[in-house]
């Protein structure tokens, strides 16, 4: 195993104990993942394993073209296929005019706008019958030229106008017919910043559409109960914000009559299972047939949705001493429907404004930052949230630009970063307070660990070795309004957590228990989490945007505080002391420091067998201007406005170092050494390292390596795992060459200007290190062959040979 560095937790421990908590007895501990036994025995209740007797099965007929007119559709053979129960098209009353998330037709007719767009849904007694009927559907198309270039799409005179309806029409971009929406940041004096620059770099970077690559397909099973009520099991990262209302609306069932149940563990989501996309189809079909219906998106598992294709034009200026003077970034995002691209632009905007002071503070009053994002209709595949959406798209060009400036100025890659980092408490280019800025610590540590690699190894020609370094910022914006959880206290001393926020493999089931154990000072095995079910779980934010630890964690800590108050209130008269003079130790309630005057939970609660307390992470009205509340900002300048200044829930700062080997003859490449660092408090260092290595090296580098999504006139050629190359273990470094660094930021919780409403200063992790991967890898490739690759993914043989001028 490589190095596992974890910064000192001692100062934190004392502070926690002072505040009446266990003093890191259960937090910051390497607790085992509570899902372990179920996972290794095959007993996890994944949604794909839900089996309802008498269930019907489904299959879709999807467009194989990015842009085409449907000239005829004949479903008669499908309808006559033995075993077929129903054949739905866009003309079926159950589907007519039904839109998903604002602008996506559940089934389409007339014209298709992206490859894999669903046209027909077959419902049959068996999967085989549904498959056979799908083959028997006859669709004739008139194929048209697809618009797949987002830069051309946002032109004043684009090659083609793909849609006419717009979700939002900003007044001054109305002349761009494909543009759905625009986002802006205007800060400082951008012209002066460039006029003062000694060096200016102008480049264009592409972040390709990348499928999530989860291997277990997203499924939903709906069961009608004959009385107007329905149960829907769906493989999701949450059940509340999207899956529940969208399924209810599609099937025209009141939400109160639709009960949505999530899996024990979501079988890999990566953002792609945020919405429970098959849910509406299952609910509609179940209502229509009166039978249970299972829908699996297994015919387009890879291309169900992707990260949006983004072309980023970037211009950056710096003084000869390395101080940044200005940056101008333009995003060009292409998407067939608007659904998630708006969030992508929003998150990209925040990520760009937090790490560096573009417009150095001793030169200008305000950072000189200009950010413009165009979101345009295109015939690329449907887009959806994807690990750190908007952030990888911004951090790849942003951090690569920093490395390019360093190279041009002959500066060290760490030195130029340290010179320009934003400081704790400063205002960002969006006029937002920067908090939890842990860049300096984590960048220095990762750089120091990279230096410890020593000189580069000598390798036989034509192989060459390169090393890269990058920083990055990932910001999270959870649902800062709706976070309510319940704790059920049993007189046996057991606590049940009743909350959404699915465990998607990141360890939320474990971390939630650790928070309760820490706050209540009880063993982790005395805490459980109940099945996630809309029947009794309150509306909670979901496991997305690396926000669950912060969002749900705080609601859990709040509930635990309330639970303790309740227990103390009941125990005080029984112990002959006041409630304020009590503490919980190992599941007992005792007078502070006097274990001899103690009482069990059961006796404290008697005669009540159980009770329920609630906790929340909500934002009170009338909060002060610098309150950590949900943000509002000026549409045209991106500037944060009162009364709430906080656009961002928490900022996450990372660093990565890579060593790669490149074969200059064949274009082969491999990653040989890697360090991932994060500035977060480790609620569970084992799980955090799992996120840094798994989500950072393996997932992040996978995105940056070979995963090219190849289109031919809007038709995707890389539809399955055979044609779309996901790296295997053999493409990655061996155990001893994988290192991690966790450098906690204490100012977050105990500093002069602490965050409130966060669980002991913990912030969400997971996507953080992921988004730094492409810039780190591209830097290492540059170090090896002297060429900057401005495309993610960057490591295919084709890309390397192109860079070497040999393609």
């Amino acid at each position: 195993m490589g190095t596992r560095f974890v910064g000192s937790l001692e100062p934190f421990k004392d502070k926690m104990a002072e505040q009446g908590y266990s003093g890191l007895r259960y937090m910051a501990q390497r607790e085992l993942d509570v899902n372990g036994t179920a996972i290794v025995t095959g007993n996890v209740k994944y949604t794909s394993s839900v089996q309802v007797p008498g269930c019907l099965y489904t299959r879709f007929v999807r467009s194989p073209y990015g842009s085409a007119k449907i000239t005829s559709l004949n479903t008669s053979k499908a309808e006559n296929t033995p075993g077929v129960v129903k054949v739905f098209t866009a003309k079926s009353p159950e589907f007519a005019g039904k839109l998903y998330l604002g602008d996506v037709p559940l089934l389409t007719e007339g014209e298709v706008f992206f490859d894999t767009q669903p046209i027909v849904m077959i419902v049959a007694e068996t999967q085989e019958a549904a498959d056979d009927a799908a083959h028997a559907v006859e669709v004739k198309y008139e194929v048209m030229d697809a618009l797949t270039d987002p830069v051309a799409a946002r032109d004043l005179n684009p090659p083609k106008v793909t849609h006419t309806p717009r979700l939002i029409t900003p007044p001054f971009e109305a002349e761009r017919p494909n543009v759905i929406n625009c986002f802006y940041v205007r800060s400082g004096d951008i012209e002066q910043g460039f006029a003062d620059a000694d060096v200016i770099i102008e480049e264009e970077f592409t972040t390709e559409a990348d499928p999530h690559g989860y291997l277990v397909p997203i499924t939903a099973t709906a069961q009608p109960h004959g009385d107007g009520t329905m149960t829907l099991w769906v493989d999701v990262q949450n059940i509340h914000p999207v899956p529940w209302p969208t399924a209810a609306a599609a099937a025209e069932i009141p939400m109160d009559k639709l009960n949505v149940i999530g899996p024990d563990v979501c079988a890999g989501g990566f953002g792609g299972k945020n919405c429970g996309a098959p849910g509406p189809y299952a609910a509609i079909a179940a209502k229509s047939t009166g039978r249970p219906v299972r829908v699996a998106f297994d015919d387009n598992r890879l291309q169900h949705a992707t990260r949006p294709w983004n072309v980023c034009q970037i211009k950056a200026g710096a003084k000869n001493d390395g101080k940044f003077t200005a940056i101008d970034i333009t995003f060009n995002i292409g998407t067939p429907y608007a659904v998630f691209s708006l969030s992508v632009m929003e998150r990209a905007r925040e990520a760009i404004t937090c790490t560096y002071h573009w417009g150095h503070r001793d030169l200008y009053e305000r950072p000189n930052v200009m950010f413009t994002a165009y979101d345009s209709y295109c015939n690329l595949v449907e887009t959806m949230s994807y690990r750190g959406f908007g952030v990888l798209e911004s951090q790849f060009p942003h951090e690569t630009m920093v490395n390019m400036l360093a190279a041009k100025l002959g500066m060290d890659r760490l030195e130029i970063r340290l010179l320009n980092l934003t400081k704790e408490g400063e205002r960002s280019a969006q006029n937002e307070i920067i908090r939890s800025q842990g860049s300096e610590g984590v960048q220095k540590k990762v750089y120091e660990m990279m230096q410890a690699w020593g000189p580069k190894p000598s390798v036989p020609a034509p192989w060459v070795v390169g090393r890269g370094f990058t920083g990055a910022n990932k910001y999270s914006q959870g649902d800062m309004v709706h976070n309510l959880i319940f704790l059920k206290l049993r007189s046996t001393g057991i606590i049940d957590i009743i909350a959404d926020s699915m465990d998607i493999g990141q360890g939320m089931n474990t971390v939630s228990r650790q928070f309760v154990a820490e706050a209540m000072n009880i063993p982790i095995e005395n805490v459980r989490k109940v099945e996630v079910n809309t029947a009794y779980v309150p509306w909670t934010s979901d496991s997305f945007s690396s926000s669950a630890t912060d969002d749900i964690g705080q609601a859990i800590v709040d509930a635990a505080k309330n639970a303790k108050e309740k227990l103390f209130e009941w125990a005080a008269p029984k112990l002959g002391t006041s409630a304020s003079n009590l503490e919980t130790v190992d599941g007992m309630i005792q007078e502070k420091g006097k274990p001899e005057n103690a009482i069990s939970w059961k006796d404290a609660m008697a005669p009540r067998p159980h009770t329920i307390v609630q906790g929340s992470k909500n934002w009170p009205d009338g909060a002060p201007n610098d309150y950590d509340g949900p943000g509002k900002n000026d549409y045209y300048t991106g500037q944060a406005l009162g009364p709430y200044f906080r656009l961002i829930m928490h900022m996450n700062f990372m660093a990565q170092a890579y060593e790669v080997m490149i074969n200059k003859e064949t274009g082969e490449s491999k990653i040989t050494k890697w360090i991932g660092g994060n500035d977060a408090l480790p609620v569970n260092p084992t799980l955090l390292e799992g996120q840094i290595i798994g989500g950072g090296l393996y997932h992040g580098a996978s995105n940056a390596m070979y995963e090219e999504n190849i289109y031919d006139n809007g038709s995707i050629l890389t539809k399955d795992l055979v044609d779309w190359k996901m790296p295997t273990i053999l493409d990655f470094p061996k155990m001893d060459d994988i290192h991690t660094a966790i450098v906690p930021v204490w100012g977050e919780y105990f500093g002069e200007n602490p965050r409130v409403n966060c669980p002991f200063g913990a912030k969400g992790v997971g996507e953080g290190v992921d988004v730094a991967s492409p810039s780190g890898i591209v830097d290492a490739i540059h170090d090896a062959i002297g060429v900057w690759i401005k495309n993610a993914p960057a490591m295919s043989q084709k890309r390397i040979l192109e860079a070497l001028g040999k393609a």
């Binding site: 195993m1 095959g42 990566f270 084992t686 006139n713 795992l721 990655f732």
Partner: protein
């Protein structure tokens, strides 16, 4: 940003091939899935049982196999994959439904001690075989050493790929009790994990 390469075999997968054959033989319809011409199997080779008996794709045949030490006899359709049979007919759902394309290795099971992809093998071809799935490793409520090692090393995240890794690891350890890191990497290289738990999987297998 578009590629010049033409879509040569659009819509054809191993699953599509099996289904295409079925559509041609049973329904007699032209394969018009999404109006894309399927690769027409001109003379598709019908599956055969180990005795050489020819069985049509829609026909059923009663076969016997041993699954996790239990003898199981069922009527299976010739087109059913081993994965479908194990999950939907026998009801053992620990073998995940994953890429269904023979590419991710998550649905790996052991057939006569050898790791095979259950999504890419027909159930009818496994007549008489000794099958081990993830449910068959623990005995009498005690986890096998490899399962214990996976828990100890947190060698999973969402767990979708874990059965594939554990069974590949078991097959290797049954042959060689102390494999090297390179040998473990090679043995599990057919299993993909999108959460990225590879390093821990290798360690868990080596330490089991």
């Amino acid at each position: 940003m578009t590629e010049e390469k033409k879509p040569e075999k659009k819509g054809v997968s191993r699953r599509g091939f099996i289904q295409g054959a079925v559509a041609g033989l049973v329904v007699g319809a032209a394969a018009t899935y999404g109006a894309t011409t399927m690769m027409q199997p001109t003379t598709p080779a019908p599956p055969t049982t180990p005795t050489g008996e020819v069985v049509g794709p829609a026909e059923a045949k009663t076969i016997t196999m041993t699954i996790n030490g239990v003898t199981v006899m069922n009527s299976v359709k010739a087109r059913w994959t081993l994965q479908k049979y194990i999950r939907d007919v026998v009801g053992l759902r620990g073998t995940p439904e994953a890429c269904d394309n023979g590419a991710c290795g998550n649905c790996t099971i052991l057939k006569d001690g050898i790791p095979v992809l259950s999504c890419s093998m027909l159930a009818i071809d496994c007549a008489g075989a000794d099958i081990t799935t993830i449910e068959g490793l623990a005995s009498g409520g005690t986890l096998s050493s490899i399962q214990q090692s996976f828990i100890k090393n947190t060698a999973f995240q969402c767990g979708g790929c874990t059965p594939g890794f554990i069974l590949c690891g078991k097959a290797l350890k049954d042959k060689k009790s102390s494999p090297s890191e390179d040998e473990v990497r090679e043995a599990v290289s057919g299993v993909l994990c999108r959460c990225g738990t590879y390093e821990r999987v290798v360690k868990a297998i080596m330490e089991a």
